[in-house]
Symmetry: C2
Subunit: 331 residues, 2 copies
Amino acid sequence: MSADTYTPESVSNAVRQYDGVRRKKAIGNLVKTLHIDNIDVVASYGEDAAVIQNGRSALLLAADGIWNQLMDLDPYWAGYCSILVNIHDIAAMGGRPIAMVDVLSAKDDELMDKVTRGMCDAAKAFDVPVVGGHLHPDAPHNVIDVSILGIAELDSVIYSTTAEPGDAIIVAIDLNGRIHPNAGMNWDSVTMKDPKLLRSQIAVMKTLGERHLLTAGKDISNPGIIGTLGMLLESSGVGGLIDLDAIPRPDLQKLGIGFEQWVRMYPGMGFVVTANQSSVEQVCQLFRKVGMAAQVIGTVTNTRKLVLQKGAEQTTLFNFCVEGITNITTV
Amino acid sequence: MSADTYTPESVSNAVRQYDGVRRKKAIGNLVKTLHIDNIDVVASYGEDAAVIQNGRSALLLAADGIWNQLMDLDPYWAGYCSILVNIHDIAAMGGRPIAMVDVLSAKDDELMDKVTRGMCDAAKAFDVPVVGGHLHPDAPHNVIDVSILGIAELDSVIYSTTAEPGDAIIVAIDLNGRIHPNAGMNWDSVTMKDPKLLRSQIAVMKTLGERHLLTAGKDISNPGIIGTLGMLLESSGVGGLIDLDAIPRPDLQKLGIGFEQWVRMYPGMGFVVTANQSSVEQVCQLFRKVGMAAQVIGTVTNTRKLVLQKGAEQTTLFNFCVEGITNITTV
């Protein structure tokens, strides 16, 4: 549990066995059934948001549900996160979030009220309105699903599938936060922040897209820092070598958590991106200007393996030739 | 239970007490909490889809969940309906459906497979792709929520809030169908149809919007024909007088159901619209050309009451001055 005794092996095991990563495996089959070719759809599965061409604009459409475990732990935070993760889906693509719709199923009014307040506070903080949806007031379960529409210039969109061997892998996270008191796997760096700062952090990805400073990018979600990077590398058909010691982290000793936990946590405000080596400084500076820690943590390789390194030790976390995280193949 | 013994009173009681109508009451409070003013949002709550201005275009965004009872009864049909109702939300606004995203929570693979096949068949029949979403493969419940993006010309959008006293009330339904074998409150007029016909039926509303032939419109959903009309009238701040005998219906005697059941059923492919008296013939002809029964069933009034009439008998189903169906007031 000490903060600096982790090894590539211990981190690899922790990530590989983490539910947040493991539960992505069922996606592949679903996609095989649902996929329909459509000329307006530029990108769909494997991206944080689907990209639909509309003239020279890209309409971005995404949906995210909140893990039922979180709903049980803290309905307000579940409501907040339902908005937060959707806004990140659009930001990750280099887009501007426009509006959201929700489907809320609630067993009782108290739960409904808590979830709704969380949604409302997040929607106001990020200034993205919830414009409609559907309500099941008498449901046998508590579920909040949110969907979001965003817009970008078509040539400024950031994809997950476009990382190239030789690119730098950069992680950007706002370390100024807390372990959420009711959800130990969530790093809350948002509920205590000035809305202006939150909006400027979200806007960095749009700027990076417009300036073409990235080769690929994703927001860090339930699978955590390394799991999300794994999905990006899998989608791009490449591999990566990362230095665990380079991954940005808060004072883990003080927080009383191990590094293995930190890399699996949902970081609230975090992105993993790839960039040409020549763009690294500009990319990191843009994140740092809005209070986010940004570091190069490794390099994209042509091996289709994600390899973790610490000092002289190395281990392979994922070998995508053998088994993928999502197994999405139609894209 | 006989098909022709219904009275305004019996129909009124049946509709008022129907869960599909009653469960709309909780929406009002939710909207009060979630509403945020935004200049790009032309319309939101109370409409089948939110309307977001994007230059001279309207982006339409909607979400719908499937009642858990339907998921228990028939997961394939629940999946099919999750697509069907979303496509109708866009059609009802006079829009063209572009793409959908879904959030599926499933307890097991068999359920997931059935729901997904239903979604896939509907998406293919109507030629609207599912382009992404989220999957909870290990959920403690079975839930399918779908969201949809559509597009229309801003000046061709059909709203729910714009019916005017004196307008004709028209109901259009495809009567060529069956009571769904696993869901007695659903009229299935879609699964057995040629996709070309289905697409032409959906496209009628877009034509009506572009030709400015309607003053308001809504797709007929869970609250049934009269319940949906009630929501339209409430949103528009008006009332209506309808002649129950004029409501299109299949051979109810043959089907073994009462009229009280028919008017509460989800009709698969149905719209309730209002139009200037001078447009009535054109509107009905467009629906009839694609095999839908279309009839004037009454008139919009300035009373804020929905009154049901049969011969000399009348009764007030809803008095919106006293109590609304949704109680949405921010719009």
